[in-house]
């Protein structure tokens, strides 16, 4: 596994590190040149001058959790589609097999639609 391939693997890791490093450099630059004199008023949460009422970290009824679960399932579908998409050209049997795969999950989408999960409530 010498050569170009190994390089491309490592370069993804280098890329991630550099992207983070870039922001840290910008933060550092800002930390050097920006003033720093906090006052109690400045350090309040931004709520237009009112003292915040209650703790915001109370349980939130996240209505989107169902959507997030749907996304996980459909992402798994999409990932499989990407895996097979590469070799489907000029292969009708394969297209039909994958078509059934997509059809089954489309049925699932229609089911979620009928049950009203996709509504904003």
């Amino acid at each position: 596994m010498e050569g170009a391939y190994a390089d491309s693997v490592l370069s993804v890791i280098g890329l991630a590190l550099a992207a983070v490093a870039f922001i840290l450099i910008v933060f550092l630059l800002s930390a050097v040149v920006s003033p720093r004199n906090p006052t109690p008023e400045k350090l309040e949460p931004y709520e237009c001058g009112m003292p915040p009422a209650g703790v915001p970290w109370a349980a939130v009824r996240v209505r989107f959790t169902g959507l997030a679960l749907l996304l996980v399932i459909f992402d798994a579908e999409a990932a499989m589609l990407f895996a097979v998409a590469g070799g489907l050209r000029g292969f009708p049997a394969g297209v039909i097999a994958v078509g059934v795969f997509v059809g089954l999950l489309t049925l699932g989408l229609l089911y979620a639609w009928r049950k009203g999960i996709l509504e904003w409530r």
Binding site: A19, Y46, G86
Partner: protein, 316 residues
């Protein structure tokens, strides 16, 4: 070893490209917005007000970076990184010139849709860590919007992969034919709208609504940390237009050498301008319309496009 170094170079380059794009983009956007709203936009500083963004950047750098007392400090500081780094990384798999993509990987297309998805976690945590009711709710809403539009965005690039028979961006460019443009046009529309929503631009800027609300999940961020979020959005805009221009409109193809890169960038610029135009023309959507558009319009459209392309490739 050289791979690590090259990757780091590309990463820094991506950061700089995004900075530059934000620099010019903010100016261009304000000019265009001005014209659309029958005013001039920035014009005092430098020719055509070009130096205005420079002054703004300087101001943001010099601003006090406030970390409110109530926030969860560690997550508050880490969240901008989680939002920005994926946007920068997605720039690296785009095919810029014949035979050149900074990171040439066999799963490039999937990489392009998968990696920016991480920033959802950053947005959600940015809102939560502020320990501010509005920011927390804003973060939740932003996350809900981003996950809803992730599926149509992922599916919209699939037809191109089907046609090219590969996920490697350079292979796609090699296989690219002009008649793919009409064939994948539905896919492009889905991609365009979903990309707008992913970067929270105006018809889809409900979580932020900076003019009316207080910038949603980023309410408690100030100075350079806030600027990083704005830059990540510009990075997303740049990456989305470049990638769209490459896979849906043939990027640098048909024009030899360095001229090809220029043509590629021009095509991307057209898409970017279209995005700005849409942003400044359309009113904001209602939340229920937002959800309905993602799941009941765009996803079925992407599926129809898939079936269409599937039918075509089975007898190619």
């Amino acid at each position: 070893m050289s791979g690590l170094i090259w990757g780091a170079i590309y990463g820094l380059a991506a950061g700089m490209v995004i900075s530059l794009a934000a620099f010019i983009g903010v100016w261009g956007e304000r000019k265009i917005a001005g014209r659309i709203q029958l005013r001039y936009g920035p014009q005092e500083l430098g020719p055509f007000g070009l130096l205005q963004t420079g002054a703004d950047t300087l101001k943001l750098l010099l601003k006090e970076d406030i970390t409110p007392a109530a926030v969860d400090v560690r997550i508050f500081r880490v969240a901008p990184l989680i939002v920005f780094a994926p946007a920068a990384m997605s720039l690296a798999v785009i095919p810029y010139a014949y035979g050149f993509a900074p990171i040439d990987t066999g799963v490039g297309v999937l990489f392009f849709v998968a990696v920016p998805a991480i920033s959802v976690v950053g947005v959600l945590l940015a809102g939560w860590s502020s320990r501010n009711t509005y920011a927390t709710l804003g973060g939740l809403r932003a996350a809900a919007q981003m996950i809803s539009y992730e599926l149509p965005r992922t599916l919209s690039v699939l037809p191109v992969v089907l046609l090219a028979g590969s996920m490697r961006p350079l292979d796609i460019m090699d296989a690219w034919q002009w008649w793919w443009i009409p064939l994948t046009f539905i896919g492009f529309i889905v991609y365009f709208i979903a990309s707008l929503a992913e970067i929270n631009r105006v018809p889809f800027d409900l979580p932020e609504a900076e003019a009316e609300l207080v910038a949603g999940p980023f309410a408690d961020y100030s100075g350079i940390r806030w600027a990083i979020f704005a830059m990540a959005e510009y990075g997303g805009l740049v990456a989305a237009s470049l990638f769209g221009a490459a896979v849906f409109f043939g990027g640098y193809l048909g024009v030899p050498g360095a001229l090809g890169v220029i043509v590629f960038v021009l095509k991307a610029l057209v898409i970017a301008l279209l995005m700005l135009w849409v942003s400044w023309t359309f009113p904001r959507m209602r939340p229920d319309q937002l959800m309905a558009t993602a799941w009941k319009v765009l996803t079925p459209m992407a599926l129809i496009q898939l079936v269409l392309v599937g039918a075509v490739i089975s007898w190619l």
